[in-house]
Each structure stands twice: as C-alpha cells, then as structure tokens.
C-alpha cells in the first residue's frame, strides 16, 4: 500500500522548502508545498480505492524503531475507517488551506518559512493519524505541537505572538505530561504500546486501571484539544496567521485529542468513570466557551472560543459513548470552522489587517463572495437543517440525552448561544453600515475558491458524508433516543439564537450595549473570560516563577550547582597547576613516568593475582 508515502511527501516538501526555499521564487515554493500536500491527498484517495470495502484494516511495518528489553516499538502505520476519515479531513482541508494561503500570505515576509512549517505540520499530523502505536502517535502529537508553536509565533518580531506561542507550548506540556504518564501506565500494564495488543488486552483489565489510563489520556486530550482547564492557550493562538488558525487551531490539530480518545474507545468503554469525566468536562467547556464567545469583539477570538466550545461538544459525544457522533462533528466542524476562519481571514485581508468587529459592518456588498460563503458556514454551525452542523450536533445531543438529560439541556442552551454569537459576528461584520476606515476589496480567486469548496462541503457535507454510518462498524453500538422532539428543541434553540442576535444587532442596535450596562457584572465576567488567565497567573504562574527565581535559580542553580561546577573547575585548576609540572616537555621524563606506570602495573598484577597459576 505504501502508506509511508502519505506523510513522507509533505516531509519532502518541508525539507526542500526549508533548505532551499530562501532562494526559490514564490511560485516554486507554492508548487513544492501545495504539490506535496495535494499528492499526499491523491495518494490517500488511491489507498482508499485500493482498500475495497474498507472492512479490514491494514497495518504496515517498516522497521523496528526502539528495541530494548521487552520494549519493541516498530514504525508501523495503520489504516482503518477512523484513520481514513481523519486522513481525508487532514489532507483535503489541508490542501484547500494551502491553496488559500497563497493569497493570504502573498504580502507577508518569511513566505517559504510559512509553507515549510505548514508542510512539516502536515507530516506530523499524518504520522499522528497513521501511527499504529501510542508512541508513534505521540511523535506526531508532539510534532504538531512544535509546528503549532512555530506558526503561532510566526510573527516572531511581535511580542504577543511569541508569548502566545510560548503559552501554547507550555500549556500543552501539562497535557503531554498526562499523555506520557498514560503511556507509561499502559506499557506497565499491557507490556506494549501497539494499539491492537493494548486494546486486545484492555477488555480483561481491571476497571480502575482503565479508569486511571483513561483519565490520564483525558488530561492529554484536554491539553491538545483545549478543554477545561487547559483551554486558555487556544484563543491566544489566534496570534498566528489566519490559515494557521483555520488548519491547526480549528480543523485538524486541536481535534487530535478527539481522535486519540476515539482511537482508545476500548479503554474508555470499559472505564465509565472516565467517560463521565470526559462528558462533564466537554459540556462545561462547551458552555463556558460559548458564554465567553458572546462578548468578544475580535472576530478571530469569537471563532476561537467557538472552536473551544465545539470541541467541548465533540467530547460530549465521546463521553456519551457516541464516538462516531464525536468524529462526525469533528468532520463537519472542520468544514464550517475552517470556512469561518478562512472567511474571517478573507475579511481581515480585505480590511488590511482589521480584526475588531466594532470597526466592521456593511461588508456584504463590498465582499460578496466572502459574505455568501460565510453565510453557508453560519447556517451550518447554527444547526439549521439540513446543513452539516445540524446533523452532527443533533447526533451528539441525542446521544447525550440518552446519557444524561442535564447534559442535553446545557447542550441545547449552548447551541442557542452558538447560533447567537456567530450571528452576532455575522451581523456586525456584514450588515449595518461600515464603521471602519480601511478600503475593503474582494479577495483573489486563490482565496475564494477554497472558500467556495468549503462552503459547499458545509452545506451538503452532513448528508453527503454519513460518517456516523460509515464508522458504525468500528465502535460499539449505542441506543439513540428516537425522539423527534429533542431534535426540534435544538433546532429551535439555534433559530432562537439567530433571532435574538438579529433583534439585538440589526433591529435595535443599542440593545446590546444597554443589556451590557444592565447586567454589568456578568458581562464583565464573560468579557474578561472569567478572569481565568488572571487566576492562573496568580495561582500557578506567579508562584512558579517566584519559586523558580528564588529557590531554583538563586538557591539551587546559582548557589548549589554553580558552586559545585565552579568548585570542580577551581579544584581542577589547583590540581592542574601541580600536575603541570609533569608536562615538562622533556620526553625522557615522560618516559620515566611511563616506566613507572609499567612497573606499577606489573606489581599490581603480581599482588592482585592477574597471573595464570
């Protein structure tokens, strides 16, 4: 099957652009970067067609990567239905976003660097998806984290960008720490990290072991997929270029946690406690992020919190045992959220860098293509039937209701808020009168063609790709509440949100401000994102920095370690100044010492019995 070609192509693109890109023309950089990703996409398609009915998974072994004692980790790639879904999303949407980036990045410095990083990201993401054991998955996991860091800090001359990069990297470490612990624990209990071996034994393992593993994996997933309490890095990650936000921080990388938990479904189904934790964390994240999203004024921040919220939905799906629904939402979310971000990018591009909603408005006429494509995303995310978001969100909510009605009701409220804040962003951007100063212009074709493709996918993706049915064979069957009432309620919530936004931002524009005045305290609370960053800063970051500075740096490092090192150095000098006298340059004195050594050796041999008897 030559699965290795799929990730290797972007890697080759990265190497070529990374090494020679500085001297390449832009078109050559484009050809290499996009060509490698598109080729990879085509190879995925070829692989799928070659696999026939897709009922059997294929695994390819390339070489033994680590062998030490009982550890035997190979470089193995695995393709089954779940992988195929992820591969298509990653390479397909990746290709579109690469094309889009040509237009978006055309005026930016570090052009080749951007594409090299993007290709590297594709490589690691594909390794993550294809890897047939936890360690290989972890390689991709860390690799995409690295690329995320590099791309968030792409504008490294801006402090907020590098700070955001550092924040993403450091917060992710916490999650990775959990993931590492999970791997150690898996290896300790199952003696292997291969998926098939681990999952084969998992069914018979004690529940508390599986719960521990599940919770630790959950920590990892929380980091990567921006769940409470580790979601704080994702909104800041919007400091990167918008295509990065679309590809990495909406469509693909942040869903890695969802993919990983879905991949480990065997462990989770046997650990109901962990499942509950996932569902609760998911719904809390979804709800809180949605509330924050209500009051944000930066268009990308709105969509960032929306992403966090939607990821929460996916975890709700996973936590409710509806793994296929979670993946389903992952796919549709990839379509419409990528579209939202790219559209936002198009708006920002049109306004030459303006991101504040308050400085927009009335752009409907000026950038019609962007507007109409974003409308598609709008209706999709708001859960308007029969568009894609409706199907997946509905599937999750139905599963959640079966699991716990409380989660369902919070989910419905969240759905309403989602519809509200997206509508708010849409109204503030495209309707009303223009409040900004920059001259708006429509984006070039390389930017709007991907938008159009994604718009089509957002509209019809829901029923064109019945992911849930496609994945049914992989995951355990769940009972679904066949209650049409529930569906009507959630649809109603979506329309309610849209309607409320229409009322507040189009019919009575002053209403939003007056409401904010009326409910000042809650508004301030959500406007400032519940002060989470400040709380973290006060409770974790500052004590940590202070402790590091006072104890670790001044005490341990400067005092103890430097003292030891300097002391060793100083003693070495002292000894050396004595031994220096031996280095007389006189060869005969050297020879005398050699002779002395030989005699000592002979004496030692005699005394210690090194001689044959």
């Amino acid at each position: 099957m030559q699965l290795w070609l799929i990730p290797i192509l972007p890697l080759a693109g990265f190497l070529i652009n990374g090494i020679f890109g500085r001297r390449f023309s832009k078109s050559l950089v484009n050809t290499v970067a996009i060509g490698s990703v598109v080729l990879s996409f085509l190879w995925v398609l070829k692989t799928i067609f070659a696999m026939g009915d897709l009922n059997t998974s294929i695994e390819e072994h390339y070489f033994t990567w680590i062998q030490s004692g009982t550890i035997d980790i190979g470089c193995d790639f695995l393709v089954d239905r779940l992988t195929i879904v992820m591969l298509l999303v990653v390479t397909g949407i990746g290709s579109l976003i690469h094309v889009y980036s040509i237009g978006y990045m055309s005026h930016e410095g570090g052009y080749y660097r951007f594409f090299a990083y993007m290709n590297l990201f594709m490589f690691f993401m594909l390794v993550l998806v294809l890897g047939a054991n936890f360690l290989l998955l972890f390689v991709g996991w860390e690799g995409v984290g690295l690329c995320s860091y590099l791309l968030i800090g792409f504008y490294f001359d801006k402090k907020f960008a590098t700070d955001a990069g550092n924040k993403a990297f450091i917060v992710n470490r916490i999650g990775d720490f959990g993931f590492s612990l999970a791997m150690f624990y898996i290896f300790k209990n199952f003696g292997s990290l291969d998926f098939d071996k681990v999952f084969h034994q998992a069914a018979s393992a004690p529940e508390w072991v599986l719960t521990t593993i599940g919770l630790l994996l959950m920590v990892g997933a929380c980091g990567k997929s921006a769940q409470i309490p580790l979601y704080v890095w994702l909104p800041d990650a919007m400091a990167g270029p918008t295509p990065v936000s679309a590809l990495i921080h909406a469509a693909t990388m942040v869903t890695a946690g969802v993919y990983m938990t879905a991949r480990s479904w065997v462990i989770f189904t046997h650990a109901p406690g962990a499942m509950d934790v996932i569902a609760i964390v998911g719904i809390l994240t979804a709800f809180l992020a949605a509330t924050i999203g209500l009051a944000q004024n930066d268009i990308k921040k709105v969509f960032a919190y929306s992403t966090v919220s939607q990821l929460g939905y996916m975890f709700v799906g996973i936590g409710s045992g509806a793994f296929s629904a979670g993946i389903y939402h992952l796919v549709t979310h990839a379509f419409f959220k990528a579209l939202l971000f790219l559209g936002a990018g198009s708006v920002i591009h049109a306004l030459s860098g303006e991101q504040d909603l308050r400085n927009m408005g009335g752009l409907r006429k000026k950038i019609p293509i962007t507007f109409w494509t974003m409308v598609c995303a709008w209706v999709a995310i708001s859960g308007v039937p029969p568009f894609s978001g409706f199907f997946s969100k509905d599937a999750i909510l139905l599963a959640a209701y079966q699991h716990s009605p409380a989660i369902y009701w919070i989910g419905v409220v969240t759905a309403g808020m989602t519809a509200f804040y997206v509508s708010r962003a849409m109204f503030m951007t495209f309707f009303g009168s223009y409040r900004g100063t920059a001259h708006a212009h429509e984006s070039p074709a390389v930017m709007w063609v991907p938008l159009a493709v994604l718009a089509a996918l957002s509209l019809v993706g829901g029923w064109l790709f019945p992911i849930q049915a496609f994945l049914k064979a992989m995951f355990p069957a769940i009972e679904e509440a066949g209650n049409p009432m529930l569906m009507y309620i959630s649809v109603l919530a979506g329309f309610g949100g849209i309607g409320l936004a229409y009322l507040m931002y189009l019919r009575k524009p002053g209403m939003a401000d007056s409401l904010a005045q009326t409910f000042k305290a809650p508004y301030q609370l959500i406007y400032n994102k519940y002060f989470v960053d400040e709380i973290y800063s006060a409770t974790v970051v500052r004590p940590l920095i202070g402790g590091s500075r006072m104890v670790l740096w001044k005490g341990v490092d400067a005092g103890l370690i430097d003292g030891i090192v300097n002391g060793v150095g100083a003693r070495c000098r002292d000894v050396g100044s004595v031994l220096r006298l031996l280095q007389s340059g006189n060869i005969r004195s050297y020879a005398t010492w050699v002779l002395f050594g030989s005699v000592a050796l002979l004496v030692a041999m005699g005394l210690l019995g090194g001689l044959p008897r």
Partner: protein, 165 residues
C-alpha cells in the same frame, strides 16, 4: 646444538644491545643495533621463522638501519654532550625492578618447564605460509599498512624537502 646456538646469539644480542646504550657515538650505537638485529634473525631461524628472519635482515638491518646510518652521516652527528639532567636515579632502579618482575613472571608463571624450542619444531613460518595468512586473514591490515607507508613517504618528503624560495 640448539642451546649452544641460542646462547651464542643471545649473548651477542645482549652485548650488542648494551653497546647500543653505552656507546656515546650514534654510529657505534647504530652498528651495535645492526648486530642485535642480525643475532635476532638467527634466533628467528631457530624458532622456525624463516621469512621473518630474512625480512628482519632486509627491512631492519638493510633498510631502516641504513637510513639511520645515512642520517647520522648526513648530519655528521658527533658524540653526545653531557648536558641536562640525568635520569639515572629514578630510571635505573625502576628498570631493574621492571626487568626482575618480567623475568620472574615469565619463569614462574607463563611457561611450564616442558615448553621448549627445538630447531625444526615449527615449520609454518615459510614464505608460503606467511603469504597465505597475509592475503587472506590479514588482507585488510595489509592494505591499510600500504596506505600507511604511502603516507609516511609523503610525510617524509614534505618534512625533509628544501624550502623552495
């Protein structure tokens, strides 16, 4: 017969070796060293190492030592001067201990009384045997040695050539 031959040439070798050390003029030392090498060649024959005996004379006595003699003549080196410190005080006792220990170990531990050398007791040292071993088991070292020699030639030429103005 073997014992007599051994004793004769061992004594010659030791006397020549002592001469190497005590002669003040390098050329006398060099010629004494040739004497040592010649006696060793005979002892090699006694041990059945015909090829090595011939090579010893051709390479050591006939080439290396000629080179030494040549250089001594070229530099017209005189007898050595008594300058600088003597290493007799630390060196001589150490040397005596060294030699004593070596001899003691060899006699006491390494070889039983029955291990003896008879002329003709080992016939595997002819040119054929050496050639066989050299071009099969030791082929790589042999090739590496040839490179070493080449490097040495170039090095010697570079070091010793006259500076071209």
């Amino acid at each position: 017969m073997d014992v007599i031959l051994f004793l004769i040439f061992a004594v010659v070798a030791v006397v020549c070796a002592i001469n190497v050390v005590v002669q003040t003029h390098p050329i006398s030392s060099a010629l004494s060293l040739v004497g040592v090498m010649g006696s060793l060649a005979v002892l090699y024959l006694l041990l059945g190492a015909e090829f090595i005996a011939a090579a010893q004379v051709i390479v050591y006595a006939g080439a290396i030592m000629v080179l030494f003699v040549f250089v001594i003549m070229l530099l017209n080196a005189g007898a050595e001067t008594k300058k600088g410190r003597s290493y007799l005080i630390p060196g001589a006792p150490l040397l005596i201990v060294f030699l004593g220990l070596m001899a003691y170990y060899v006699q006491r531990y390494l070889f039983p009384e029955s291990a003896v050398v008879r002329f003709g007791g080992f016939t595997g040292g002819g040119p054929k045997d050496i050639g066989n071993a050299l071009f099969t088991t030791y082929l790589l070292p042999f090739e590496v040695t040839s490179i070493l020699i080449l490097v040495a030639i170039i090095g010697a030429v570079v070091l010793a050539r006259k500076e071209i103005e």
